[in-house]
Structure formats: structure tokens, C-alpha cells
């Protein structure tokens, strides 16, 4: 969440609650709504690292609120983040380890493992289908996230098929 908050602060200084609202507004149902405590903890750490700074703003008949803004170091960190390629998803290797190791130890049969895993993936896919149906067409960001999850799942299934061909 560190970098998301830095990105939002690059746009304009904001206090914690405004950041929470901005995240909710941009990502809609695509992102689990962040909890405000988590945002304050993260802001505190960013401040300690010198990436943001806070000023107290007086409010009439309310306690002061802290408005955060990006420092030069924060700007640099944000630029570095934007410039570097993002780590791709890793192959989910726990299942693969199981697949390779289980038959050796006699714990399970490979074909049974693969079949069970396929059914599991397909049932997740069914969930995603339902989710896509319930998501409003205007919620582009959420729909793209769901589509991304579906494409990853498809790749997992294709890979499972390759394992079945080559290992059985």
C-alpha cells in the first residue's frame, strides 16, 4: 500500500481519510476496502522514512488534522516504482511440488491429484463467472481485475494439462 499512497499524494496533499476515500473511489469493488488504521500506520512509516511529511491543519471546533504531502525523496521513490517493471506472478509451485513429490512417497496418485486440482480451478472459475455477472458494467476496473484472474486461471489449467500429458 506504501506506493499507492505515495501515488495519491503526488496528485495532492491529503489526510488519511481522504486517501481511503480516493482508493475506494478509484478501485471500486476491485480492491478490498482498506481499513483506516492500516492507512495511518502506513503513513506513519512513510513519514519515518522521510518519504512524506505531515503538517497540522487547524480546524474550527475540532482537533487538528494531519495533512500529508510528498517529499522529494518520496517523489524519487515513486518515480523509481513507476520506472521499474513490476514483478510478474510466480508459478504457484506448491501444487507442483505436491505433484512431483507425492507419488514418490506413495501419498497420492498423480492422476488423482491433477483431476482434483482441475476441478478446484474450475470451481474458482465458476465463482469468477458469477462475480463478473454481478459486477456493474460501469465498474471497468473491477471487471478488468476479474478478467485478469480468469486469464491466470486459464493458464493454470493449461499448465495442468501439460503436466498431465508429460507426467502420467
Amino acid at each position: 500500500m506504501r506506493l499507492f499512497l505515495l501515488a495519491l499524494l503526488a496528485k495532492e496533499p491529503a489526510h488519511g481519510y481522504e486517501l481511503k476515500q480516493a482508493l475506494e473511489q478509484i478501485f471500486g469493488s476491485a480492491y478490498p476496502s482498506p481499513n483506516i488504521g492500516q492507512i495511518y500506520v502506513t503513513l506513519g512509516r512513510l513519514e519515518k522514512d522521510g518519504l512524506v511529511r505531515a503538517v497540522d491543519v487547524e480546524q474550527s471546533n475540532r482537533p487538528n488534522k494531519k495533512v500529508y504531502y510528498l517529499t522529494a525523496a518520496g517523489r524519487e521513490a515513486l518515480d523509481a516504482w513507476a520506472d521499474e517493471p513490476t514483478e510478474g506472478p510466480r508459478v504457484r509451485d506448491e501444487f507442483f511440488m505436491k505433484l512431483v513429490l507425492a507419488p514418490m512417497t506413495g501419498v497420492a496418485d498423480r492422476m488423482a491429484l491433477i483431476n482434483r486440482q482441475r476441478r478446484h480451478y474450475l470451481s474458482i472459475m465458476r465463482d469468477l463467472n458469477g462475480l463478473a455477472e454481478r459486477t456493474a458494467p460501469e465498474d471497468r476496473v473491477a471487471l478488468l481485475l476479474i478478467e485478469g484472474a480468469m486469464l491466470h486461471l486459464q493458464a493454470d489449467l493449461d499448465w495442468l494439462e501439460r503436466c498431465q500429458e508429460d507426467l502420467s
Binding site: 478501485f27 471500486g28 469493488s29 476491485a30 480492491y31 478490498p32 476496502s33 506472478p89 492422476m111 483431476n115 482441475r118 476441478r119 478446484h120 480451478y121 474450475l122 470451481s123 474458482i124 472459475m125 465458476r126 465463482d127 469468477l128 463467472n129 458469477g130 462475480l131 454481478r134 459486477t135 465498474d139 473491477a142 471487471l143 481485475l145 476479474i146 478478467e147 485478469g148 484472474a149 480468469m150 491466470h152 486461471l153 486459464q154 489449467l157 493449461d158 494439462e161 501439460r162 498431465q164 500429458e165 502420467s168
Partner: protein
């Protein structure tokens, strides 16, 4: 008495001859599909999916074993009897479309309905509805060759559904589609399924397969798995944000 299964195969075998070398493509398949079921067939390339579904539609003769459709023996039928059967109750979507090249899209789709005895008006209305559901209204007067692969594929699906077949056999009907077109196809298939038509569909597309009642997995011409897709195990009212956790 229970209704007969729509499809039953008993130890179904297909061995092609490739320059004198026998190529076993389907090796002893026992399959039983009940009325109204939606069955997806998955499996690697060369595992025998097309061969199996072609045999079920009488498009490729079996080497040995039995095929029963609606409780009647079908593998012993001759070509013309199969043709009649297809006209009356089977819609077939080929992996490589097989549209009639010198007929318009509209005529391609209307033809099976006309052959099955629909009036020209019924055939036209049904064609209009199907093309509309698949986002193809603008293509009605085009020749198949003028269309993109994904469009031809949807025309092939419309054609297969034109005579309201009680059994739809489809070989990779979404193989050439992007996700928006796949969504249209899924929606139409959902309607077809709800109408009680039986669907047997070969697919690599997990999205399509996940909507089936049952998934049959083939490997080297044999069924290695056959079972229902489990109902969602999470709470029903998730948001897309849950996808993040789902993948975690």
C-alpha cells in the same frame, strides 16, 4: 420409468489408419449423458475430443463399440439415417466452422431450420434472433469468407441452433473468440441450457467449462475424470476485491 439418456456410449473405439499404421484416437469410452445436461469435454490436443464428438454426431464411423441416442442404437445406422437424425435433433458446431461458402450468412443459418421443416418465416425469425444474440446482425448478407474467424465461429453456432436441436454437439465453439464475444456465446448457451436442450461441448476454455454441469477429461483417447464442477464454496456475495485474496 426414467427417460432414456440422450447419449450412451459403450466401449466406444476409433482407430484411424494412417498409411497402414493404426492410430487409436478413442480407446474405450463409456459415456452417459442425461436429458438437459451440459457436459464439457476437456483434454490436451490429440486426446480424441473431436473424434469422440464426431462419432456422437454420426460424422465419423466408429471402429467398435456402441452409440445409443435417446435409447435407440445409432452406431449401426447408415449415412442417410444419420443425416435425418441430425436434421431432426442434433446441432453440430465444427471446430473449423464448415460454413457453406457460396451462401450468405443468413442463408447458412436458415438452411438447417428449413431442412427440418420450419416455415420460411419461422426460419427467418429464428435466424434474426440468433444473429442478434451473437452480435452478428450486420453480417447477415456477407459471405462467410468475408468474416473474421471469430465471426464465422459464431455463425456456425447460430446455424447449429437454428433447428432448436434437442442435442447440441459443439467442438471448441469459443476457440477463436475474444472475451466479449465469448460472453455473448456463454449467455446464449445459458439460455439454450435453461430451455432444457442437452449440450456436449469440447472446450479448452475454462470459463466455458466452468458453466457446465459436468466436466469429462480425456487423455490419450480415454476418460480420466468425469464429475460435476463443485458449487462455489465462498459466500455468494463477494466483490471483485475478493479476487485479490482468491489468487493470493
Amino acid at each position: 420409468m426414467r427417460a432414456d439418456p440422450v447419449v450412451t456410449t459403450v466401449n466406444l473405439v476409433k482407430i484411424y489408419q494412417n498409411g497402414g499404421v493404426p492410430v487409436p484416437a478413442v480407446r474405450g469410452v463409456d459415456l452417459r449423458v442425461e436429458r438437459g445436461e451440459f457436459v464439457a469435454i476437456m483434454g490436451p490436443s490429440g486426446s480424441g475430443k473431436s473424434t469422440l464428438i464426431h462419432m456422437l454426431g454420426g460424422l465419423d464411423p466408429r471402429t467398435s463399440g456402441e452409440i445409443w441416442l435417446d435409447g435407440k442404437r445409432a452406431d449401426t445406422l447408415g449415412e442417410s439415417a444419420w443425416a435425418l437424425l441430425r436434421r431432426k435433433k442434433i446441432g453440430f458446431v465444427f471446430q473449423f466452422f464448415n460454413l457453406v461458402a457460396n451462401m450468405t450468412v443468413a442463408d447458412n443459418v436458415e438452411l438447417p431450420a428449413l431442412l427440418a421443416g420450419a416455415s420460411p418465416r419461422e426460419a427467418r425469425e429464428r435466424r434474426e434472433r440468433l444473429l442478434d444474440a451473437l452480435g452478428l446482425t450486420g453480417c447477415a448478407d456477407a459471405a462467410p469468407a468475408q468474416l473474421a474467424g471469430g465471426e464465422q465461429q459464431r455463425v456456425a453456432l447460430a446455424r447449429a441452433l437454428a433447428n432448436r436441436p434437442s442435442l447440441l454437439l459443439a467442438d471448441e465453439p469459443t476457440g477463436n473468440l475474444d472475451s466479449r464475444n465469448t460472453r455473448d456465446v456463454l449467455k446464449l448457451l445459458g439460455e439454450v441450457h435453461r430451455d432444457g436442450q442437452t449440450i456436449i461441448m469440447v472446450t479448452h476454455d475454462a470459463r466455458v467449462a466452468s458453466l457446465a454441469d459436468r466436466v469429462v477429461s480425456l487423455l490419450d483417447g480415454q476418460i480420466v475424470d468425469d464429475g460435476a464442477v463443485a458449487a462455489p464454496r465462498r459466500r455468494p456475495r463477494g466483490t471483485a476485491g475478493d479476487v485479490v485474496e482468491l489468487r493470493g
